[in-house]
């Protein structure tokens, strides 16, 4: 059944539209023409005796039925539009209008409900309460049979209109009417079968695609682990080279210089003093070199930036690659931290955001940086799933260690999302620098 596509379903739906249009025009014409026939042949008085109820004029029946049908079809077309918020309401209007149409046609044709129902299945987007709708449509279908409907709403039967024709014509007209109605039912059933088959096909296809996607996902994970490992190695090499190039070099020089001083100090104290001055300069230079090296190891975002700008840039980048929505309240405008301190704070915030997304599946996180009298505070609250018991993995441990460097404390709370509270003492922190 590979060839069975949505195209066939659409074709069947279009033929349903065509059949319904024909049936409605045919039935409405029957009322109009029979009236003419009855009037011309002076059967009117007998007709009144035969008919159970008559109120609408045949012209009304004809034009109102066709008008209602056109409105229903237009509503269906309107509903096909994407992102139509009213779609759900339109369905109810369609069902009500088709019931009105059945009443207008004096209960001679109720297949229009099948057509509306088919369209409903075809175009299920934006439809809520599907079960209720189906119940309503089928309930109306049940009561819309003439024999039942005429007990609720007074209306003349189409048979009473046709009963004045000669037997052969009447049989033919009723035959045509019934065969059209049956055709509608048959096409509707075909449509349903097609629809179910297409749906099955699609489900199969989707599950296949899902399998493929999960495979690709696995590959990506491996690759990302690999690349992380590579990056780590690269970083390690860089650090060792850096240490080798700067500290290694300087320390070798210093140790050689100091050795020379030890020898010189008794022979020529003046000379050794000069030598020590040179060493002191080398040490200072080395400190500068170390500083420069450390600077190179800073987080990329903080490079050449203040903490605030760095945070904003990091958050922007984070938001652009995930669905996490971050609100930052930065109240440290007048605070100037050491680079190391900034680095640590930056890393903590970065880690917390990563955790909120990875473990808590949060969609929103609020980051509040402010200072109290004796300490700086960072409070981060997400709306994620949190966790029942806080498990101290590598990330949290490292955060603990990092905060400890600043003499600060860190606490985690998991109620209504996950909350991280960091306190950094003002004096203690400074003293330690």
């Amino acid at each position: 059944m590979n060839h069975l596509t949505k195209e066939y379903v659409t074709k069947l739906k279009d033929s349903l539209l065509f059949i319904n249009a024909v049936v409605i025009i045919y039935n409405a014409s029957l009322f109009l023409l029979s009236t003419k026939y009855i009037s011309v042949h002076y059967y009117a008085r007998d007709f009144l005796n035969k008919v159970s109820y008559i109120t609408r004029t045949p012209q009304n029946i004809f034009f109102e039925s066709i008008f209602l049908f056109i409105i229903i079809v237009l509503l269906m077309k309107l509903r096909e539009k994407d992102n139509l918020k009213m779609a759900n309401g339109l369905v109810y209007i369609e069902i009500i209008l088709s019931f009105l149409l059945i009443i207008r046609l004096n209960g001679s044709y109720n297949g229009i409900l099948l057509f509306v129902f088919a369209d409903l299945l075809y175009n299920m987007r934006n439809i809520k309460h599907m079960a209720l709708l189906l119940l309503m449509a089928f309930g109306l279908l049940l009561i819309s049979d003439f024999n039942i409907l005429s007990n609720i709403i007074h209306m003349p039967s189409i048979e009473s209109y046709l009963s004045f024709y000669p037997n052969s014509s009447r049989t033919f007209m009723l035959f045509a009417k019934n065969i059209l109605a049956s055709l509608n039912v048959v096409v509707f059933i075909l449509y349903l079968i097609c629809q179910v088959l297409v749906q099955q096909e699609e489900t199969k296809k989707i599950s296949k695609e899902l399998q493929l996607a999960s495979k690709v996902n696995d590959e990506l994970k491996t690759y990302s682990a690999l690349s992380e490992k590579m990056a780590e190695d690269k970083e390690r090499k860089r650090i060792s080279r850096e240490i080798h190039d700067t500290l290694g070099h300087a320390l070798t020089g210093i140790s050689a210089g100091i050795d020379a001083c030890i020898t010189l100090i008794d022979i020529d104290p003046q000379k050794s003093k000069e030598q020590l001055l040179v060493i002191s300069n080398v040490v200072r230079e080395s400190i500068k070199d170390v500083r420069r090296s450390l600077y190179k190891l800073r987080p990329g975002a903080l490079d050449q930036r203040t903490l605030k700008d760095g945070l904003i840039k990091m958050i922007e980048e984070f938001q652009s690659v995930s669905h996490l929505n971050v609100d930052l309240y930065y109240e440290w405008e007048n605070v100037d931290f050491e680079n190391t301190k900034e680095d640590i704070i930056f890393r903590i915030i970065q880690e917390t955001m990563t955790n909120a997304l990875r473990h808590g599946h949060a969609s929103h996180i609020e980051i509040h940086l402010f200072d109290e009298e004796e300490k700086y505070m960072i409070i981060m609250q997400d709306n994620g799933s949190g966790c029942k018991e806080i498990h101290y993995g590598y990330g949290l441990k490292q955060m603990h260690e990092r905060v400890a460097i600043l003499n600060g404390t860190i606490h985690f709370y998991s109620e209504e999302g996950f909350r991280t509270v960091v306190e950094i003492p003002k004096i203690g922190g400074k003293k330690d620098d």
């Binding site: 009117a44 009144l48 008559i54 109120t55």
Partner: protein, 428 residues
């Protein structure tokens, strides 16, 4: 809500207001269509067919200058039912139209006639203005039409014949026993040629006898011809018929003054005063009218024919149509004029009791003992109510044929069960 939606909503509500204003514009020209037939409702000659309607139209147009009327003239009563049915089928039902008694049950049950209950209730119309059975003629569960003209059946008595036989003229509360006794007394061979040549009654049929017994045998889904009282009534009729040795008394016999009783309608009474009018010229018997005879238990014996006017349930001018309908049926002047110009009686009590009516009745009467308007009022207060269902006229026609045939053959007593079964099959 988007701006477009707001715009659409405003547009829709504005147009609704506009449509409402247009519809309710009181100065707008309105044309009411009427469905009328020419001639009398009671099959008596009547030259002034549209006079009363035209008078009502003129009066109405004075009150509502923007209302105009349209009606097709020249439709005779026999064609009216078919014409009206054709208009209804085509969807061009007149706004206000006359309803023949034979059509009322059909038209009210298929939803063509407007249900007037709400209008009557809303305007607190005092329905006791009408004779109750006249009003009820337009009632089929609800009030669907109002009585326009009524025509009671009354008993005509040959005054001279009774006086000659030394029999007192019966009073209005006489019984069928009196009727039989008097008929028995007057049925005789006056010139001794061996042939009966003076008769008790003419034209008293099975429906009259059931009316006298106060029996209604047809219901919506069954009939009660097998009841004991019905058998008794038919036995009485057979006995009555036997008096004249099964001789078929003709209207000629009545005209020649050889018959004591003859049921007449009020319209016939007024038209052929005395009946037929040539009698007053060529014969000299005096006559008078009283109500139909009753039984000990039943005094409501008078059959009432009612011509009705109703309005279409699909009329576009309901209020105006209702106003006009009220004018035709409830306006004292119009009804008085109808009594004057037509031969029937008015369904309005106040018209029947008016001084003008009294004068008309006196003027009508050229012979002895006229129909006094008080007597007439009493008769009208005690009229029978006919059953209402769609098949009634149809079943009555069938029953009439079967029963008359059976009575003529003298086998009515045995045939009643058979007739009952046949009619019940029709009703199913």
């Amino acid at each position: 809500m988007t701006r477009i939606k707001k715009g659409i909503l405003t547009l829709v509500s504005l147009s609704l207001v506009l449509i409402y204003c247009l519809i309710n514009d009181p100065s707008r020209d309105i044309t009411l269509t009427l469905g009328l037939y020419v001639g009398s409702s009671w099959d008596v000659p009547n030259g002034e067919s549209y006079q009363v309607i035209d008078q009502a139209i003129k009066k109405f147009e004075k009150k509502y200058p923007n209302v105009h009327f349209e009606y097709k003239s020249g439709i005779i009563k026999d064609d009216y039912s078919s014409w009206l049915a054709n208009e209804i089928t085509k969807g061009t039902t007149p706004d206000v139209f006359m309803v023949l008694p034979d059509d009322f049950n059909t038209l009210s049950s298929i939803g063509i006639l407007k249900n007037l209950d709400r209008l009557i209730k809303e305007e607190r119309i005092d329905t006791s203005l009408f004779y109750q059975s006249a009003l009820f003629a337009g009632n089929n569960g609800s009030q669907y039409a109002l009585p326009y003209e009524i025509n009671p059946t009354i008993m005509c008595i040959n005054h001279d014949l009774l006086t000659k036989e030394g029999i007192a003229i019966p009073s209005s509360n006489w019984t069928i026993d009196d009727f039989y006794n008097i008929s028995n007394q007057v049925t005789k061979d006056t010139n001794n040629d061996g042939v009966i040549d003076q008769y008790g009654y003419y034209g008293f049929d099975w429906q009259d006898v059931l009316d006298c017994y106060g029996l209604q045998v047809f219901k919506e889904d069954n009939c009660h011809l097998d009841k004991k009282e019905v058998k008794e009534a038919f036995l009485y009729l057979t006995k009555l018929k036997a008096l004249s040795n099964d001789y078929q008394v003709s209207s000629e016999d009545f005209d020649q003054g050889k018959v004591a009783f003859c049921p007449l309608t009020f319209a016939q009474y007024r038209t052929y005063q005395p009946y037929p009018y040539r009698i007053s010229k060529y014969t000299s018997f005096k006559w008078s009218c009283i109500s139909m005879p009753g039984t000990k238990s039943n005094t409501i014996t008078t059959h009432l024919d009612t011509s009705l006017i109703g309005m279409s349930s699909q009329t576009k001018h309901q209020e105006i149509a209702w106003e006009f309908l009220k004018m035709l049926t409830m306006d004292g002047d119009i009804q008085q004029s109808l009594l004057d110009n037509s031969k029937g009686a008015s369904p309005l009590k106040k018209v029947m009791l008016s001084k003008k009516t009294k004068e008309i009745l006196v003027k009508d009467t050229v012979s002895y003992a006229s129909l006094d308007s008080d007597v007439l009022n009493r008769i009208l207060e005690n009229t029978l109510v006919e059953p209402k269902f769609k098949e009634y006229e149809n079943i009555l026609e069938k029953a009439d044929y079967l029963i008359n045939q059976s009575i003529d053959q003298g086998t009515i007593d045995n045939d009643l069960n058979k007739i009952q079964k046949k009619l019940e099959n029709e009703l199913k």
